[in-house]
Symmetry: C2
């Protein structure tokens, strides 16, 4: 028997490596598969893989056994009409946890050690005279990090930060037991979590509950001067509030990978801000080989009637 798999990607260049990797990984598990690149389609597909799916694709695949998303976030997909009973399965890790750990450790170390300040002083003095002042040493122990969202990615980031001696607080819907992490759960503990933190890292899923969560009132509770790192979604943040608190000095700056409008408009005030470091939504890119292997394993498990991880809970929206 041959599995029929439908795949949609933003464009054909993106889709082909996915088709190749998935075919290879399924074959390695002894599964023979045919993969159609949308708008090419099967009459009776078994599974659908979506990256930036439109409603037309979803309507054409209402009968599949499961929808796989090619990323960790499902906020875009859940804005569309997906049959209520259809299992949605997201990528778990797929190399993203390691990338998130790299991004957050880089940003946190750069801020604590003031490498950005030194680098720019050394440049400036090319014109001027040769700045050569050591600043007061700052150590990770002085910068407790608060991570919002303690799933697979958040936990890995916590562990990487701890190895550098950062104290770590974790906040999530329900408090998690993670060695060495001070855990906070739910709305009631959010103030205490923020007050215990100086660097705030947003790793939340985007849901109606978390949209606009990071606003002036929340950011103001961070130990000052604080710092903000966003690797989740732009819509978690009230951008004007973030800017105001950086300009007032309550926050020393921010490292942002995601924005309310993407691509970030050329005229956006973040663009030229000297205390905001920007990257274009690349903190964690889906790694095709690792993710295709994960999806192949899950398809084979589903075919055997087994359960798989990464199933989206529609009531929580992640």
């Amino acid at each position: 028997m041959k599995l029929k798999i439908a795949l949609t990607c933003p464009d054909a260049d993106a889709a082909k490596p996915w088709r190749n990797a998935l075919t290879t990984q399924l074959l390695a598990l002894g599964a023979d598969a045919e993969i159609a690149l949308w708008p090419e389609r099967f009459a009776d597909p078994d599974y659908a893989l979506v990256w930036g799916a439109g409603q037309g694709f979803l309507d054409a695949h209402r009968g599949v056994k499961a929808l796989f998303t090619l990323g960790a976030g499902v906020d875009g997909l859940l804005k569309l009409d997906v049959p209520a009973a259809m299992p949605i399965i997201r990528i778990e890790d797929g190399g993203m946890a390691a990338q998130m750990a790299e991004y957050v450790c880089h940003a946190a170390l750069r801020h604590v050690r003031q490498f950005d300040v030194y680098e720019s002083a050394m440049r400036t003095s090319a014109a001027g005279g040769g700045a050569w002042q050591p600043l007061e040493p700052r150590r990770p122990a002085q910068f407790p990090v608060g991570i919002m969202g303690m799933g697979a990615l958040g936990s890995r980031v916590a562990q990487a930060l701890q190895a550098f001696g950062f104290p770590v607080n974790g906040w999530s819907r329900s408090a998690k037991e993670i060695p060495g992490v001070a855990s906070f759960g739910g709305e009631a503990s959010l103030d205490r979590f923020l007050q215990a933190s100086r660097i705030l890292v947003c790793m939340l899923p985007l849901t109606p509950d978390t949209r606009d969560l990071i606003n002036r009132a929340r950011l103001q509770q961070l130990q000052s001067p604080g710092y903000f790192i966003n690797v989740a979604r732009g819509a978690h943040v009230v951008e004007a509030d973030l800017l105001a608190l950086i300009d007032s000095g309550h926050l020393a700056g921010a490292a942002l990978d995601v924005f309310r409008e993407e691509p970030l408009p050329a005229s956006h005030p973040f663009r030229a801000h000297p205390r905001i470091a920007l990257t274009p939504h690349t903190a964690a890119q889906t790694l095709i080989d690792e993710s295709a292997q994960q999806i192949a394993h899950k398809i084979v498990a589903l075919e055997r009637g087994e359960s798989v991880g990464g199933l989206v809970d529609r009531s929580r929206a992640y």
Copy 2:
């Protein structure tokens, strides 16, 4: 009995915190000490602590039981006339290993993940139109790091890099056994070490053998495009060779904390080079409290006739 300790620092502002910390730490160990700040002096001092000592200070303290240096490198001290039999004891770690791990991980991650490239593209497009292209993902596994100098600091850096998935090669006079590190020892293995590495990290002591070691012939052997990180001494590197190899593209760039002339002259070609990140010899600052505690423990041990770590081997010059 009261110990008499002589202390010299570049200036009194630097000396006072050392005097306070050392007095406190010795008292905590039950040792009573009087500490003179040079040019104030004792007739018969027991120990001398030096940071940037001049010959006058050394001549006035030829009778001490040991000279403690307030840093890891002793190349400056060994240019002066120090009695051959005088034990010289350097800081071991003293918080410097952790700082070196921070510096090198930050620089290596910044290069591998191209955060510098993204940040500057995002800035440039403030004027232009809004660059938003993800580059091909690059992973630490593709960037084997070669560390030259595998003492206490080098080993700690190796461990921190390994946690991010960097393959690590270590080179030192004699090969060290460090879990997970491919170890190379001595001149004969230097070519193989360089050829196995893509990011080169210099953590060597500066001795007649290591001066100018990092030249065109050595850098050319790195996997290309390579990267160079120097947290040791500027005189390890032939700066013109480094520049030529960056400009030819054999190396993608460098992160430099140390220079042949310090402060780095305002007109030096490193200053404005777009692919060289600069810091002003601050990769690892001596942390007074941790170092004073270490020195206090060693003084108490020496008073008891015990041996201590960090003794400089004058025949090796480190």
